[in-house]
């Protein structure tokens, strides 16, 4: 899920850069030394995840894993994803240089929403809440990115409802897969190493 170069008008991608820079500045405040290795590893996971093809029927899809970044890194997921996107753009031509800002807002923003959903688990006293809220975070990470994508495409003159429907329909399979992957990871990590998860 990356927007290509040349689709959005200049004011839109410039606004994307401004928004991404502001969010990065806020989410990077007071970063601790101990957080850096964890952030680096999750950045690498995100960077690689978009390059893995999972065959699905006649086509194939790739994981986004911004939800996973959200539940492990919390607010720090934003700078992590932004760095991943910058490298994907430079090394693989995934997206493009001008759309780094808007792609960061799309995928990094999804990670932040996933983190917020993940934090809601404290309000519920239920069994397997890590599994349930991890899965919800994974699904929400994908959906919110899809909504940002649809919003960005609206500026090109497409009708929101139509483009949102297409984008979301295309991301339903990936949403379920992300939910399973992030849910199982959250469950696993909460058993073996709970302190690695964000927002304990």
């Amino acid at each position: 899920m990356h927007i290509s170069e040349g689709i959005l008008s200049t004011p839109v991608w410039v606004a994307g850069y401004a928004g991404a820079a502001a969010l990065a500045a806020v989410t990077m405040r007071n970063m601790d030394m101990e957080e850096i290795p964890k952030i680096s590893v999750i950045t690498a996971v995100f960077f690689v995840a978009s390059l893995i093809k999972v065959p699905l029927g006649p086509a194939s899809i790739h994981l986004i894993l911004n939800g996973l970044a959200g539940i492990v890194l919390g607010w720090r997921a934003f700078p992590a994803i932004m760095l991943g996107i910058i490298l994907q753009a430079i090394i693989f031509g995934h997206g493009g240089i001008t759309v780094i800002g808007i792609n960061s807002l799309m995928l990094g923003g999804g990670a932040l929403v996933a983190y917020m959903v993940w934090q809601l688990r404290h309000r519920f006293d239920i069994q397997r809440r890590e599994l349930i809220f991890g899965a919800l975070a994974g699904a929400v990470g994908t959906i919110s990115s899809g909504i940002v994508l649809a919003l960005a495409l609206v500026t090109t003159g497409e009708a929101f409802n139509a483009i949102a429907a297409t984008v979301l329909a295309a991301h339903i399979p990936i949403m379920f897969i992300e939910a399973v992957v992030v849910g199982v990871s959250a469950q696993f990590l909460s058993r073996v190493k709970p302190e690695i998860l964000a927002g304990n």
């Binding site: 850096i36 960077f47 093809k53 090394i91």
Partner: protein, 207 residues
Amino acid sequence: MPAALLKTLFLTGLLMALVAPAQAHKINMFAFAEGDDVFVEGYFTDGKKPKNSPVLVYDAEGNVIVEGQTDAEGTFQFALPDSGPIRITLNAGQGHLAEYELSAAELGLGDNKGGTNATSSAVTATRATGGTPLAGPQQQAEMEALVRKAVGQALRPVMRSLSELKEQRGFSDIIGGIGIIMGIGGLYLYVKARKMLAQAKGDQSGA
């Protein structure tokens, strides 16, 4: 923390083991002059075809000169324009757009309009004067057009492979990217550690 780090590293390793050397869902395209037409083909890196996707062709001034749609095979053809360079875009929807530029030379157009015609008529003239002419000049022109077309069609798979090769990034790029990420993390830690050390030294000498 080291155990956790090991686990995440293991996860990374697992993911990397599954990496295919190309990325899914990136739209690529290529175009080349084929006889009197320009042939355009788009494809996703996972092999899907962009069906009924709008294709726009721009001239050097940025005006749209051709507008069309790809067929079920993700291909589109239009008549060779009068002048180059041209820029072709293919919008596969949902934020996927590919661009391709063709220079005047790649289009088989000379610097000035009509360059090709001049050369081909020169060829016809030489052939007509030397030896026995096989056919009249008109038939010869038709023949040439047919040959150009046939050669162009034969070139399609080659052009496609070339374009795929240009886009394909290998495992080393992925490892390189991970190295850059780790390097940036390391650099950040180095700067922070220096600051902390300087502070600690300052505290010591102060005490």
